[in-house]
Amino acid sequence: MTTIAPPVVRTKEPSRSSGGRSGSVLWMALPAFVWFVIFGIVPLLGVLALSFTTWNGIGEIQPSGLDSWKATLTDPGLPHALWVTFLIMALSWAVQTPMSILIGVFLATSKRYREFLAVLFFIPLLLSSAAIAITYKALLDPNFGLGTGLGIELLNQDWLGNSTLAMATLIFIVSWQFIPFHSLIYQGAVRQIPTSMYEASQIDGAGRVRQFFSITLPQLKYTIITSSTLMVVGSLTFFDLIYVLTAGGPGDATRALALLMYQQGFQANLMGPASAIAVILVLVGLGLSLLLRRLGGRGDESQLEGA
């Protein structure tokens, strides 16, 4: 396909990025930029500064060099929290992506009943994480929960009290909550794929499955990257759901980085190490996001060649 790369696109490039309009575009970014400096950069620098201090959260802040970093990096809780974070990230990605793509493709066709289903699928997205967590916690209560209510003993598992089950339950709830959002993204992306591609393939004798793998999936490449970036980076900052649901437990089975940060800072009154963890969290997030950009390859190749 790359053989017919159209030179048209390339000649257009310079005029787009360095044209006369850029001057007027820059000031439009100003409000966002100011907002970002106040609520993004300044606190980030504050956290960085705090990570070189000792502070219990209520007294005097005392500079203490690398003490907090040493304490954080030698704490066996850190590798464990990193592992839990990556586990949540990988598992929730692996569950959400295929489901979202399938539901997105399914909903993209305009048929009445599918539009009705789309509304239903959308509902979990309207609820706040804390509300979802409280509801699930009540439903999954091993003594007063859904199993007892319906009289089905099978549902009376120790859902949140067993380390493995708690992680699985967490992934399920996260997926339940966010699949609607990602389906929506995929639905939009699928609708943008030119119908001519499908028509052409039909003439060539391709079936539905072949069309899905040879047209739909490749066309969704950038959408998959965008959606994955949102999932991966979003899972780094999961806090509310886990905190309300398991509080990082049982033991430390679901204590992700964000929860470790909270525990150190607000329960153990160690703001220095908590800030160091926050910095690690930012670095991990930046690294992952840049990596995903790389995986996406060069952004200047067209997906519509031959269409």
């Binding site: 609520f39 993004g40 209560d141 009290g161 437990g249 009154n269 952004g299």
Partner: protein, 446 residues
């Protein structure tokens, strides 16, 4: 690189997200802070008061404030109530941001010490010396946990709360057994209850301090109160005592024998689900603070009224060195005055301390809530349905050779967090007794 703007946006958005989360956490939610510490306060010395919500305490706390506000319309107190576990974080964040209330409710001990070291609370020693009448009305044994470096920083209020073993009499009659008189009897009751599909013990394990009560009693019964005293004093390797390993092993034995209700590690105390398990008969016994009586009375229908709830001091352990009269719990609740409050607000708070909090209605109110007041001379009020419970609690509290403060309240917040974390792992069988001891020795004196 034509997509640069997008990649930068991703980058910035991500940074903003992470930093925003950190910043939000750092700012905390200052909560409703009407006439908080730093503010200059309205005329007439309006004061604010933060405390815990829910039964059995909240109605009586509210009543005390209503009484005071009625008598002092010019210097009103505004109360705000929080859930137990949420309050512990909220108050710290608020104090750190100078948004704390005039009156700080607490448990004394290590948490209070940290406030004192950060100059957050007023020294009440001189004020109490001038107002000896106030001091005389309060049990002297309750002042210990409100005292730091021989100075009183918090006034004991509300109730003395020993931790006791509650049991469901119906569950015991179902299996035809008597309440346990020793650790051995507890262990032999476990399979009997399990055979009847009744959980031997209810436990809200997600809250962690609930698990801790088991360790407190078992250590005290096997080795006496001296072992924890050495930890509290900051002695090196104080946890390395054979009695500690023995106690931890006993806890894990009980967990392995299914002594606790299924799913205990996902039950949180804030919802009172652990008490519900006892009064619904799903569990036979529960180690809990005496305040649980008021909750079960309020929420358990006729359970308490019909005399189905039993209680006793934690039984002795065979061959243990500890005095079986010893108990642990809260020798009182504590109110401090913020040093950041205005002079007028402080005056209002002191007036509240010296009038409403030590009056007869306050005493009667806490008795009615099912608690033993920290105020002297409450015995004559122990009448009606709760009389026996109140007499027994007063008996346990006053008859104890040692009334130890709960560990997590006695220790500094840093050490307490490590303690609670390791206790949760112990109950989850994630750490062995020896690993537990090693981890805890690492934070002694911190």
């Amino acid at each position: 690189m034509t997509n640069n703007p997008i990649s930068r946006r991703n980058f910035l958005g991500l940074a903003a997200g992470a930093a925003g989360a950190a910043a939000l956490a750092a700012c905390g939610s200052s909560g409703p802070s009407n006439s908080g510490g730093g503010s200059t306060g309205g005329g007439g010395g309006a004061a604010s008061y933060w405390s815990l919500s829910g039964p059995p305490g909240e109605p009586y706390r509210q009543a005390a404030i209503d009484r005071f506000n009625k008598a002092n319309p010019d210097s009103k107190i505004t109360p705000t109530f929080f859930q137990n576990d949420a309050y512990k974080q909220k108050i710290k964040t608020a104090l750190g941001a100078n948004q704390g209330p005039t009156m700080i409710w607490g448990w004394g001990g290590g948490g209070l010490k940290e406030y004192v070291n950060s100059n957050q609370v007023e020294d009440l020693t001189d004020w109490l010396a001038q107002n000896a009448a106030v001091k005389d009305k309060i049990l002297s044994s309750s002042f210990g946990a409100g005292t730091v470096n021989n100075k009183v920083y918090a006034l004991p209020v509300e109730t003395v709360q020993p931790i006791v073993l509650f049991y469901n009499k119906e569950a015991f009659s179902k299996i035809g057994a008597e309440p346990p008189k020793s650790w051995g009897e507890i262990m032999s009751l476990v399979p009997k209850f399990n055979a009847q599909k009744i959980a031997p013990f209810s436990l809200a394990g997600q809250s962690r301090w609930t698990n801790m009560m088991w360790l407190e009693f078992l250590l005290d019964r096997t080795a006496g109160s001296e072992v924890f005293d050495r930890v509290f004093a900051g002695e090196k390797d104080a946890w390395s005592d054979p009695a500690v390993l023995d106690m931890l092993q006993k806890v894990q034995d009980l967990v392995k024998a299914n002594g606790f209700i299924k799913g205990f590690s996902s039950i949180a105390a804030d919802s009172n689900a652990d008490q519900a398990l006892l009064y619904t008969g799903k569990a036979a016994m529960m180690v809990h603070g005496s305040w649980s009586y008021g909750i079960q009375k309020e929420q358990g229908g006729n359970f308490v009224k019909d005399g189905k709830l039993g209680w006793m001091n934690f039984p002795p352990v065979e061959g243990g060195k500890g005095d079986p009269t010893n108990t642990v719990g809260n020798p009182g609740q504590y109110l401090s005055i913020s040093s950041k409050a205005t002079a007028e607000a402080k005056e209002t708070a002191k007036k509240f301390f010296s009038t409403t909090l030590v009056d007869d209605e306050e005493k009667a109110g806490w008795v009615k809530s099912g608690g033993v007041p920290v105020l002297k001379g409450a015995e004559s009020l122990f009448t009606g349905d709760d009389a026996q419970f109140l007499k027994d609690m007063a008996g346990i509290a006053n008859g104890a050779k040692t009334f130890a403060q709960s560990w997590d309240q006695a220790l500094s917040p840093t050490a307490a967090e490590t303690l609670l974390d390791n206790i949760a792992k112990l109950f989850q069988l994630q750490v062995s007794p020896q690993q537990w001891v090693d981890a805890m020795n690492g934070v002694i004196g911190k």
